[in-house]
């Protein structure tokens, strides 16, 4: 299975989990009670990326979750590619292996 298929499957899974989570989110946000979904973090003394992350966290939890997933996926892929290059540079090349016990 190619990497494209993995990404497609992940996206499909991701969309399904969004739908699943949204059903919970909409039922909880409407309530008066303070829940994990409407908790706020103070922005005092924050600047730059930290401020942006916290504002996103405070204002749009759904977008925060999307950003977290995308950042993790992108960084994971970039790091995998980069580390692969470094290992190749040291002569550790990975290819199909025989499955001996």
């Amino acid at each position: 299975m190619s990497m494209k298929k993995i990404i497609t499957l992940c996206l499909l899974f991701f969309v399904l989990s969004i739908a699943y989570n949204n059903s919970f989110a909409s039922s909880e946000v409407g309530g008066k009670q303070e829940t994990s979904l409407n908790e706020k973090v103070g922005t005092k003394n924050l600047s730059g990326v930290n401020l942006w992350i916290v504002e996103l966290y405070n204002n749009d939890r759904f977008m925060y979750a999307v950003v977290v997933v995308l950042v993790m996926a992108a960084l994971g892929s970039i790091m995998a590619f980069g580390t692969d290059l470094v290992l190749k540079h040291f002569g550790i090349n990975v290819s199909r292996i025989s499955h001996s016990e």
């Binding site: 990497m3 899974f13 994990s36 939890r61 995998a80």
Partner: protein, 349 residues
């Protein structure tokens, strides 16, 4: 050494960057090598350094998701992934997981279940580890005998030495429809057997509240009869999907500290590449032995945590964390050393 401390605004704690990197790196090495997520390492490690438990779990999920992308890619390159089996495992495990979590919710209405769950977890880990030790020595004896027979007769017997008698018996169960997994070298097995096995692993994941890599890898090897390296690669598909789901759902609830996950993921991605590459150099039963040692120590850690819950003596909790982190660090070191030694030999050739 305050220069290494950063403020993590969402979790509201100050944390050492180097420590985050090292935790991530070790989790990545073990995850890539054993085909497990590593939530059992990240959660207590972050928790002991002042991360609130739910933030520790959520941040761990985000890291596991990111690092498993690279590990899956690498194992795929090595031909270690059986996608067909992996997909069946995800679908069936979800059903089992729902049943397991429903059982927990029902039991919670009756009384405190945490103690029971921890006893079950400890028993399961100990039993798995003990069986893997036993099999390691039995398997070695079987291999030596087989080689001797082959040398005497001058022919190859073609017998699969890695497969257990139990898995061979399961393969003889012919209730249709039958399904084959060519990548794993399985010609035909009843689909009901596969469904039942993953229903049980899913149930255990839901009941024990763990990701499942620890259960899935031994099941794939000893019950279904997969070669160890394919079991490791295939298990990572489940880790990737559960990581993606866990990452999103915890982030939606505001329980992921993005900055901490980001730093840990840098370490974890490097570690995952190192761990996955090491699979190329360490034979199947070598992986099984290291896995057995790791889960025995994990069981010891759960047992010590159990003592803390029963006695409320702080030193038991500290001891549990030390056992866990000591195991994680030393296993990572063993894997890296083996990789360095074996790759040096390969480069010389």
């Amino acid at each position: 050494m305050n220069i290494f401390y950063i403020y993590l605004p969402v979790a509201g704690v100050e944390f050492n960057v180097l420590l985050l990197f090292v935790i991530g790196f070790c989790v990545g090495v073990l995850g890539g090598f054993f085909g497990v997520g590593g939530g059992w390492m990240i959660t207590p490690a972050l928790n002991i350094f002042d991360f609130h438990m739910d933030f520790a779990i959520g941040t761990g999920f985000a890291t596991i998701f990111g690092q498993s992308i690279g590990a899956v890619k690498k194992h795929q390159k090595m031909g270690n992934i059986d996608w067909k089996l992996g997909m069946i495992s995800i679908i069936t495990s979800v059903i089992g997981l729902e049943i397991g979590s429903d059982v927990i919710i029902s039991l919670e209405k009756v009384g405190e279940v945490g103690v029971i769950v921890r006893w079950c977890y400890m028993f399961l880990l100990t039993a798995l580890g003990a069986y893997m030790f036993y099999d390691y020595f039995v398997l070695q004896q079987r291999q030596i005998k087989l080689r001797e027979e082959e040398n005497k007769s001058g022919t190859k017997t073609g017998q699969n030495v890695s497969r257990t008698k139990f898995s061979e018996r399961l393969h003889r169960f012919n209730l249709p429809p039958m399904i084959s997994f060519p990548v794993s070298g399985i010609d035909g097995v009843s689909i009901w057997i596969i469904f039942f096995i993953f229903l049980i692993t899913g149930f255990l994941s839901g009941f024990l509240g763990v990701g499942g890599g620890f259960i899935i890898v031994p099941v794939l090897v000893y019950v279904i009869g997969l070669p160890t390296t394919i079991a490791v690669g295939t298990s990572l598909i489940t880790v990737l999907f559960s990581g993606a789901y866990g990452c999103f759902t915890y982030a939606m609830k505001g329980r992921v500290e993005l900055l901490a996950s980001f730093i840990m993921l840098i370490g974890a991605s490097i570690g995952a590449q190192v761990g996955s590459t090491a699979v190329k150099y360490i034979k199947g039963y070598g992986i099984r032995l290291l896995f057995a040692i790791t889960i025995i120590f994990a069981a010891l850690s759960v047992g010590t945590e159990q003592l803390y819950k029963l006695t409320m003596q702080d030193y038991f909790q500290m001891m549990a964390a030390i056992v866990l982190m000591g195991t994680t660090l030393s296993m990572s070191l063993v894997i890296i050393l083996r990789l360095v030694m074996e790759s040096k030999k390969e480069i010389k050739k």
